[in-house]
Symmetry: C2
DNA sequence: CGTATATTCAACCAAATGGATGAATATACT
DNA sequence: AGTATATTCATCCATTTGGTTGAATATACG
């Protein structure tokens, strides 16, 4: 995912996590540790191929890594990328707080002088 | 969005935020405070109608609210729902930490007894 | 070597998404 | 009343998405 900007990475991560099956897969992986594709698929009323595709979406979002041992693919959760979501939100909230501070300043000014600052 | 389960709400919120234009709209709204649809649209090389649709997606995800005053629709950011994402991630990470603790316990056991616990 | 197992690849399909445009609605202005 | 402005509604279109099935690939096992 190195060829993408941070913004694009964030989009990919958010979209990957927006599907309930994929979030469930992540939870299972975090609970059980590295798991085989077939093993993961058993939890779902869905074809193995569909799960395989979901895993590839997670992999593209770097939310899981794959270690191939013989014919078995071990899938492992990777939580770090979710921090990107966290950072985005923190940033948003800090802008928000900043604006509220400004508003407060304005309100305080209104309190002291003529209040012409709408 | 009351007719949805928490899981479904989370999906809607994540999907809504997964689009770069919509994240940008949220940022603009947080920076500038409540804004009109036309005003928001001016920031983008995209039709007013498309922006209107994006806003409706954000609205459906409860990430913005709308206050209609005459013919003007004032759109306001609403950051609370993003906490749902935060909660999901915190939960995931806590499961992760739990499993690491277990692993550590097992490793400690290996250290003391015969280590047969693979 | 032949067969079973684990997984992906390829093609297909219906539904959703993100965009556009043109018409409709509702409000404001003179 | 008539015109301009703000916004949504309705369609349409190309692309993506989430699922399916069947074939291919690669490894393991007897």
């Amino acid at each position: 995912m190195d060829e993408y900007t941070d913004e694009q990475k964030l989009s990919v991560i958010l979209k990957a996590t927006s599907d309930p099956t994929r979030r469930s897969l992540l939870t299972t992986l975090v609970q059980q540790g590295p798991s085989r594709v077939t093993e993961l698929a058993q939890h779902y009323d869905m074809s193995l191929n569909s799960i395989s595709k979901h895993i590839k979406v997670l992999e593209a979002a770097t939310l899981v890594t794959r270690k191939t041992i013989g014919r078995v693919h071990l899938i492992q959760a990777q939580l770090e990328p979710i921090n990107e979501i966290d950072n985005w939100f923190k940033n948003l909230r800090s802008i928000w707080d900043l604006r509220l501070d400004d508003l407060e300043t304005i309100l305080n000014k209104e309190h002291c002088d003529d209040g012409s600052q709408q």
